[in-house]
């Protein structure tokens, strides 16, 4: 009888051990399913895909505009800020397009000098104090950012053929 009990105890113990080893993997699979469910909802905080932003003069045809030292200097700083430094911040811009994209668009549209002045004005406006002056019609219902495109900063409005 004792001889029979001893092997059966061994079997029971091994079964318990095997069951115990399976538990963490089960928990992991449940957790994985939960994570997949959360990722499916595609909230901003879990958006792990980092969007790489282009160099300002990437599609520029003029060689002078593309390779002169001033353009290269400003373009590189902007590229470095957008793709390296900006990724480390948790704060979000009040506006759409963001301030760096706005300065890119402004420099492309109006040239370097006017673009820099418009960008400095935009930086002065991108804070909580200035946000009190934003018109409520400008806010996007989904993204909660205010629309502030470069096209608003023309003296003469665009005609239908010029509008991009």
């Amino acid at each position: 009888m004792q001889k029979l009990i001893h092997p059966s105890c061994n079997i029971i113990i091994t079964l318990i051990l095997v069951w115990g080893l399976c538990l963490p993997s089960k928990a992991q699979s449940v957790e994985k399913n939960n994570l997949q469910l959360i990722l499916k909802t595609k909230t901003n905080t879990l958006d792990t895909h980092k969007h790489k932003r282009d160099y300002i003069y990437k599609n520029e045809s003029s060689w002078l505009k593309k390779y002169n030292p001033v353009s290269l200097g400003f373009g590189s700083l902007l590229y470095l800020y957008q793709n390296v430094i900006s990724q480390q911040f948790s704060a979000d811009c009040l506006y759409h397009p963001t301030c760096s994209d706005f300065s890119k668009d402004a420099i492309r549209e109006y040239g370097l000098i006017k673009g820099i002045f418009l960008s400095s004005d935009r930086i002065c406006r991108c804070n909580r104090i200035a946000a009190t002056s934003i018109n409520y019609f400008k806010f996007d219902q989904k993204t909660h950012h205010a629309h502030d495109s470069v096209n608003l900063y023309r003296i003469k409005p665009l005609t239908k053929t010029e509008y991009k």
């Binding site: 002045f117 400095s120 930086i123 002065c124 406006r125 104090i129 200035a130 002056s133 608003l152 900063y153």
Partner: protein, 281 residues
């Protein structure tokens, strides 16, 4: 032989009944979809029936579904197909005119209103819609001629007539701000031009930024002299923000004027829309 003839007649009749019954059922289903706000699905069903049965109910329901989906031009075209004999005629035509007004196609809106055959009850509504369009076009003379002045106003229009008159006086009394004045004010006191444009928060933010960079530059200039690298650096930053503040003030007036006009247009559209929902729903 008799049995075969009777059987074939019976088959033909039942097929005919089936087709009619299925069309009726389809209309009821479309009506149910519209009531449940499933407008995309309703449009699929309506598009299926479109070429097959020219029906006023079909054009009306299609117009309503497109209007709910904010496809206003298509909605207006569908509404205009509804004939005079239909019970939905007046509602369709007025909503077609409103849809054209909303998409700034004022000429088409006025054409639609002109062609509507009216009952005495709806004459005031037509006059009210005309006055709203005149106000949107900023044609104040036409607005004065078209607006409802009598004391016997339809109950559905009373509040909106008063609101439209208030909006008219607001637009008339507002003096458009001047861009050059905002630029000049910002050149003297940074941020004041933006406050003049109505953007107080932006003005304060600009003032703080320019003042802080200016103070840092002055401090460096006082301690280290003008030829020092720090003075030049902070001086450049101060210049960029100072000129940017003047530039921004000039454009803030333009944006402020545009925002005011947009807000007034939205309010006018809201006020000419409400009576249509009150009278026809």
């Amino acid at each position: 032989m008799k049995k075969i003839i009777i059987a074939s007649l019976f088959c033909l009749l039942s097929l005919n009944l089936l087709a009619q019954y299925s069309q009726k059922q389809r209309f009821e289903f479309i009506h149910h979809l519209i009531k449940s706000n499933d407008f995309d699905e309703a449009l699929i069903e309506l598009d299926y029936l479109d070429g097959k049965t020219p029906s006023d109910s079909l054009y009306y329901m299609k117009g309503w579904a497109l209007y709910s989906l904010k496809q206003l031009n298509s909605s207006a075209k569908s509404f205009q197909k509804v004939k005079k004999e239909s019970t939905f005629y007046h509602k369709s035509q007025f909503f077609a005119a409103y849809n054209y007004t909303h998409t700034k196609n004022y000429k088409s809106a006025k054409d639609v209103l002109k062609r509507i055959e009216l009952t005495p009850k709806l004459k005031q509504l037509k006059q009210f819609e005309y006055s709203g369009i005149a106000l949107l076009e900023r044609d104040f003379e036409t607005y004065e001629n078209r607006r409802i002045k009598s004391e016997a106003i339809l109950p559905a229009l009373q509040t909106e007539v008063v609101n439209l008159n208030k909006l008219h006086s607001t637009i008339m009394n507002r003096k458009p701000k001047k861009m050059w004045l905002a630029g000049l004010m910002s050149a003297i006191i940074p941020g004041s031009g933006k406050m003049y444009a109505g953007k107080t928060g932006e003005g304060i933010a600009s003032m703080l930024m320019v003042a802080s960079t200016g103070l840092v530059t002055w401090e460096n200039h006082r301690k280290l002299g003008i030829k020092n690298f720090k003075t030049i650096l902070f001086g450049s930053i101060f210049t960029v923000f100072y000129v940017g503040n003047i530039y921004g003030s000039v454009f803030s007036v333009k944006i402020s004027n545009e925002e005011f006009n947009h807000e007034m247009d939205q309010k006018i559209l809201f006020n000419i829309h409400i009576p249509l929902r009150n009278i026809f729903n």
